[in-house]
Structures are given as C-alpha cells and as structure tokens.
C-alpha cells in the first residue's frame, strides 16, 4: 500500500494505482500516463525508457500518452526539475509492479514457478522451452486494478539494458522532417484563426472602438469583452491584418503609464517583507543583524544586479479551443493542465469537469511563458463564437511584450576572511519581486487573476498580491544558501512587491541571480585571499560529489594554468536547489575591440545521479549553459512609461550561432543513485563563470547583468 506516509514520490500518493500510470493493450502495446508535459526537455523519452526497462518490453512498443485532464494523473506543474524525481520514480515503481504481477499470472497460467520464467520484449517464457504467454494475452487490454507497490524491487543498475545506454531517436525524426505537429499546426477545415488586439501597456483600458471603421473587414469577426479585444477569420493572414485595422479604430485610456524609476533602486528602497533563511527555508522570524566587522582579517562587500529577463520562446504562444455550449475544450502548451483547467473554469464560470485541457506541443517554454494566457484568450474567443474551433496565436510582439518576465533582482553579499584566508562569515541578502505567477488556484480567485486577459474583462479579475514562498530553496531564495561549508552564515530573503513589470517563473527562478552573485563573489574573495579560485572553492567544499565535478571541469579547462594570450578563464559551481544536479562550468573568454565578450570554450561537469537518457541529459546541461550565457551577455527587458520596448529579436537579442562556443560536457554517472533534475543546473554557474573569465581576461569585475558592450565600456571607464 502506498500513502502519504510512504511517499517515494508525491505523484504516487495522489495516484496509487498502477492503471494510473501504465496500461497494456491486448496486442502488448504499452501506454505510459504522466501528468508531466514534454516541453522539449525529453521527459517523455526518459519515461518511456524507464517503463521499457522495468517491464522488459521493447522501447518501440512504449508510447507516452499526451496528458489530458480527466485521464492523466494530476502532477501539478512540470517545473522545478522535479519530473524525473516525481513522474520518473512513479513510472519505475508502477512498471516494476506490473511486471511482477504479470509474471505471477503467467506462472499460474503456465503451471510453473515464477522463478522458471524469463521476460523478453513483453513475452513471458518458461526458461529453455518454447512455452510462453505475452503481456498482451495476460492483460487482454483490461486494467490491472492493483496498487503500485512502493517497495517493489526494481532492476539493479548492472542489469539495465536501456537506462543510460539507449539513444532513442524517434521523437527527433518528426521534428527534422517537419511531420511533428505543434499546437500552432492544429488548424482543420473550418477552424477560425484568431489574434488579440493588445492595449499599449498593462494598465491601459479601452475607451472606445470605432465600429464604423470595422464594417469593411469582411469575414473577420471582432470579439470584445471589456477591454479584451480579439479578431477571428477563416484566413489567418486576414486575421493578422485585421489586428492593425482594429488597433487603429481603438482609443485607450493610457494613464497612468508604467513606472520608470530605476528598478534596482526600488528593489533596495521600497517597502519589503523580509525573512531569515535557514538551511534553505525562510522563517517568519526577525532578520538577524549583520555581525560587526572583525578586527583582524578582511571584510568584503559587493552588490550584484540582474535585470528583468524573458523566456523569449521561439514560437509565440498559441492555443486551440472549442466550446459547444456545454464543454470547453482547450489544447495548450501549458506546463500544468490541471491548474490551468481550474483557473479557466473560474474565469469562464464553468464547473471544472466541463473544461477539458489537453497538452499539445509548443516550443520550449523554460518556465511560465504566455502559454496559459493564450489558452484563456482562445477560450474567450471560442466562448463568443460557440461551435467554432478557434486557433489563437500570439504575435512575436505579444510574446515579447506580454509574457510574464523573470523578476529583476539585487543581491548584497558580505564575507569576512580570517587570517588564514578562509571565509569566517557569509551574508547573502536577495531582493526581488515574486517568481510565482502561475495560474495556480487559490484564495480570492488567484488562479483566474494570474491569467492575463482576466484583468481586461468587463467582469475583471485583478492579479492577486504575491505571497512569499517559504518552501525549501523556492523562488527568490533558491540557491541563496551556498553549498560551501561556511561556519557562520546569514541568508536573507526580501520580497519587494508592486514593481512595474508582470513576472512569474522562469528557468532557475532566483537561482540564476543568486549563483551569479555568490560565485562571482567567491572569485573576488579568492583574489583577496591570494588563492587560486579552484583551490579556494575546494577549501570550503566538503561534499565529495561537488568536489568531483568542480575538479573535473577545471582540469578539462586546464585550470589553474595560463589561458591563451588575451583570454581569461573562469570557473563556477552550484548544486541546483542544493538538492538536484551538481554542475560546474568553466569558460574561456576574451573581450574584443568592440567591447563584446567572446566565448571561446566552455566545459560542463555534472552529476545528475543515475543517467537514463545520456543524450537528453547532455542536451539539457548544454542548453541550460547556452541559455544562461545568452541571459548573461545580452538580455534585459526594457520599458518606458508607454509600455515594453523590448518587442522583437532586435530590441531583445539572444545568443546566435556565431557567439556560441565549443562546449565539452563531462557526465559523472551514478548507477543506482536517485535521479537529480538537471534542466536548470548550469545556467547560474554559466553567468558567474563568464563574469569570472571576463575578470581574468581584462581585470574588469562586472556585477550588473547583462555583460554587454555598454557594461564593458562603463566598467573600463570607471
């Protein structure tokens, strides 16, 4: 039996039956059910491998069902690098339970002891005979009706034939040939293409819409509810052009505009809610004062700043919706089909069971992008155009200007070095707006209020006040408490509300800024102590797995040691959330004549526990590095009082092919060890490794992101 007292994974506590996770039809085809969605991080590949491994079936006979409310287990959001530890563990235990159960049935059917049976590709055979029965024959396609045994014996790692070894390519083929259908591609005959007509900025309200100028729009229909305005047409391009026409016919009340006070100043000067963080957990207690500066040794202080940054998904968000007067069906690339369903039901005033949300492929989202908002937009249009299938797409400008960004942050650090050059005191204060804006149901219609369109409806629901997240290594304080064995530490989380831009969860949440700050500061301290940065870190690091990845990355990069002329090398390390994958990053960089940082080489060394899909893991680690490097070198969302000014790829550039360095990745495999989520492990270390490399190359210590040519020139002149 499984209950909350034996939670090998929270997913099993909610969904204890094997049929919640695995079904086998009469032909032996296996379907894995998961509440986790594939957002390009290949979770479905990893789950298929795990199921095939434990069941002893061919990988090709396993498919992972597309999650849909009502049939998929409710696993909340696909976020926080939790999928392998939640769904992965649940599927492994369910598959092992199913295999054991079917072998027992086979033994009875074949009249032999279970120990005489072997299983190959879903066929149970009496050893050294040709008497056999298949999984399909045993189940007959019927549910098994048994509970997942959380203590079932799973395969020992040395018996694995697929986990860590197989290189599945099935999913990639459709992407490379164009056959894979994304939500954007789900138009059918009769589908209406829809677009939203956006206000100039968050606070604008529709004053008037000159209906007379819309008469010539032909088959374009205009949907209006309060200040929410959308258009729909059987022809997609006519819908695109209609947006411009309708926008020209609209007048908006635009005062007040967006606040343009320097956000870094507001972060440290505005009213805030503060918590001491102990062992990664914020406490509702007074924040302790900093200790007085000691007489001997040295005290260093530094402030690091990270601007608003965006997910910048390559595909603008989209959703398909259909309302027949009874049930609203929505196809979405949201990371949480159940939370979204609850929030949609609230806005639409429908019972939850009359809202069906099905996952459909989107482009990579890297957190809470516009997916959920687009789902509501599509549902609103579908409700108005009852009986029609509506495929609503955001424009590039919509995505850049309206997605929920990652919060701007300030990190203040102080450390004392004793006479031996060791850290005797460490203080880390992080100032940030929330990282929680997902449409999670809560008091005061919180889920509805977090969907963008809600605030514009005639029956408006405004965004709720952000509440501090007091969970272990959650949003703002994620990785604020470093893994180093500092004897005295003071970690403080400051939640600063009501800052100008709409924010939510983006890959790593607060960890990116916290690791950038702490790992830059470690180099500053090493410099002050006159010690090599690798040796300085190892001196304060006890965890052997942390030491191993750090040493491996440094060694491959040739650190310590001289860099080629004009270049510098930087190193950084973190264990994501102090509990997920360990990752060390080393970078070799230079600064060119135009003050641009050039990345020449990068080395990643990571330990993610037991490796399931090696190539998938490598892709996650390298992708996290590249995205982190892009944030670090280029990215800042800008605005003025009239709205967001980062509205396309020119005003918000990201890293391009000619800027991405060669990346070497070392993976430390730990067969039999727990899976450690890896999708967010390298982005924070990437930032600090780059900043440290820039310092090594130029002597310039840059503490405000991004490290773009303006920042380099400012630092060089000061």
């Amino acid at each position: 039996m499984n209950d909350s007292t034996n939670p090998r994974t929270p997913s099993l506590a909610e969904h204890p039956g094997v049929d919640d996770w695995i079904s086998i039809d009469a032909d032996g085809r296996v379907t894995v059910h998961t509440g986790k969605v594939d957002i390009g991080q290949r979770i479905s590949t990893a789950l298929a491998i795990i199921a095939a491994e434990e069941l002893d079936v061919a990988l090709a006979s396993v498919r992972v069902a597309r999650p849909r409310t009502g049939t998929a287990p409710d696993e909340g959001f696909t976020s926080g690098s939790n999928s392998m530890q939640e769904s992965g563990v649940a599927v492994r235990l369910a598959a092992a339970t199913v295999r054991r159960h079917l072998v027992t049935r086979a033994a009875a059917r074949l009249g032999v002891g279970a120990e005489q049976l072997e299983v190959t590709d879903g066929l149970v055979r009496v050893r050294d005979t040709n008497r056999s029965v298949s999984f399909g024959e045993l189940t007959g396609g019927a549910p098994l009706g048994i509970a997942v045994d959380p203590d079932v014996i799973t395969k020992s790692p040395d018996a694995h034939r697929l986990v860590g070894a197989v290189r599945p390519v099935g999913g990639l083929e459709g992407l490379a040939t164009g056959a894979t259908r994304f939500v954007h591609d789900l138009a059918e005959p009769g589908t209406l293409h829809a677009r939203v007509v956006r206000p100039p900025h968050y606070h604008a309200r529709l004053e008037a819409l000159d209906e007379s100028s819309l008469a010539s729009l032909g088959d374009v229909q205009v949907v209006r509810d309060g200040s929410f305005v959308a258009v729909a047409s059987p022809d997609e391009y006519r819908a695109v052009r209609a947006v411009e026409r309708v926008a020209a016919a609209a007048t908006w009340i635009t005062a007040p505009g967006l606040d343009t006070t320097d956000v870094f100043r507001r972060l440290i000067e505005d009213p805030r809610e503060s918590f001491p963080v102990v062992d990664g957990v914020p406490l509702r207690e007074p924040v302790p004062e900093e200790r007085p500066e000691p007489v001997g040794g040295a005290t260093l202080r530094a402030r690091y700043e990270r601007p608003y940054q965006m997910h910048a998904s390559l595909a603008p968000s989209a959703a398909r919706a259909h309302f027949d007067g009874e049930t609203m069906r929505v196809w979405t690339h949201s990371q949480g089909i159940y939370p979204l369903r609850a929030s949609l039901a609230d806005v639409l005033d429908l019972p939850r069971e009359r809202v069906v949300v099905e996952h459909a492929l989107g482009s990579g989202c890297y957190g809470h992008n516009g997916a959920d908002d687009a789902a509501l937009d599509a549902a609103l249009v579908a409700r108005a155009l009852r009986g029609k299938t509506v495929l609503l797409k955001w424009s590039r400008e919509d995505e850049h200007a309206w997605e929920p960004y990652s919060s701007a942050m300030v990190v203040d650090l102080r450390a004392d070095l004793d006479d031996s050059g060791a850290v005797s005191y460490w203080s880390h204060e992080t100032f940030s707006d929330t990282h929680r804006g997902r449409p999670r149901a809560g008091p005061n219609r919180a889920g509805a209020g977090r969907l963008l369109a809600s605030r514009y409806l005639a029956d408006a629901v405004m965004p709720p006040r952000a509440e501090p997240n007091l969970a272990h290594h959650a949003g703002i304080h994620r990785n604020a408490d470093p893994l180093y064995a500092f004897a005295n530490r003071r970690i403080v989380k400051h939640l600063v509300r009501d800052l100008p831009l709409r924010v939510s969860a983006m890959r790593t949440l607060g960890a990116y800024a916290n690791v950038f700050a702490a790992e830059s500061f470690m180099d500053e301290l090493a410099e002050a102590a006159g010690v090599d940065p690798l040796a300085f870190r190892l001196r304060h690091l006890e965890d052997p797995r942390a030491r191993e990845v750090l040493a491996a990355a440094a060694q491959r990069m040739g650190m310590p040691g001289p860099a080629p002329h004009g270049r510098g090398r930087g190193l950084a390390f973190a264990q994501y959330k102090n509990s997920k994958a360990y990752a060390a990053v080393a970078v070799e960089a230079s600064v060119d004549d135009t003050a641009r940082v050039r990345l020449h080489r990068a080395v990643i060394a990571a330990d993610a526990g037991e490796v399931v899909d090696r190539e998938g893991l490598r892709a996650q680690l390298e992708g996290g590095f590249v995205q982190g490097a892009s944030w670090t070198l280029h990215e800042a969302v800008r605005h003025d009082s009239g709205g967001i000014t980062s509205r396309d790829w020119e005003s918000y550039p990201i890293l391009r092919f000619d800027e991405v360095p060669e990346v070497e990745t070392i993976i430390v495999d730990r067969p039999g060890a727990p899976f450690l989520g890896a999708g967010e492990a390298t982005s924070g270390p990437a930032a600090a490794a780059i900043a440290n490399a820039v310092f090594a190359a130029t002597g310039l210590r840059l503490r405000r992101l991004p490290l773009d040519p303006d920042a380099i020139r400012r630092a060089a002149m000061s």
Partner: protein
Amino acid sequence: MSELRLQVNGRERTVDVDPATPLAYVLRNQLGLTGVKVGCGLEQCGACAVLVDGESVHTCVAPAGQFAGRSIVTVEGLVENGEPGPVQRAFVEAGAAQCGYCTPGLVVAVTALLARVPDPDDTAIRTALSPHLCRCGSHAQVMAAVRALVSGTRSGRVGG
C-alpha cells in the same frame, strides 16, 4: 483573391489566395506544409526558411505572389522516399533538437549551405546559421550534425 501557381516540392500547385499573403501562410494553410514554422513574422528568426531556387529564404513576410514560377522546397520536400534525407538524418543522429521549433529552418539552411559549399569550415557554418535563432541551446549538437555531414562528404559516404 486570385489564382496563384506555385512550384512546391517538385509539384505544380494552384492556390486561390490573396497574392499579398506571405508565402509561409500559404504553404502552411493552403498547402498543409506545417513544417514551415512562423516564429516572428519579421524575418528575424529563420524558423520559416524554405529553399527558393536552392537558396535559403525567409518566408514570413515576402508576399507569395513574388514566388510564382520559382522552385520552392520546404522541409517536407527534403524527405526522400518516405525516409529522412541526409541532412535530416544527420540532425536526428546528432540529437540536434530539443523543442524542435527551429529545426526545419536549420535543416533548410544547412541544405542550402552544403549545396553551395560542400566543405564548409566552422566559421562558414556558424555564419550560415546565424540568421537562425535557437532558444533551447542546441547549437553544439547542430554544429556536430553539420560537421558529420561534411566529413561524410569528404569520405564519400554522403552524396554532396
């Protein structure tokens, strides 16, 4: 609306469409070639690239009418006898996609590059791919895919 004749993936196609409609919309909506992705509608990201007379061309802005009489090949047209073509196969083997939204445009760009320069060095590859954005960070695997194609061409394993 008017009749527009296009030569797409080796076939003559006639579509009834406003010729001002950008080619990407026509390929996707009139001809069902949804491998052509629209990422920006601003010719900034490369997801919509197709081969036009062998060159990689962005199609999310330029009116379809401009392409009459020219040879258009989309990512679907690079499939050979139902199997992925050499560039597509190289991407699969190198694991050169995460979400895959940028992949069709990259496959097209690499095809155009190798037709023009059968033996490009890293700088030439990076230059040719720089008009294409990838947000997942699959750049290293994409480079590996192209290098594998180039070394295959050198050893005569893959036709150039």
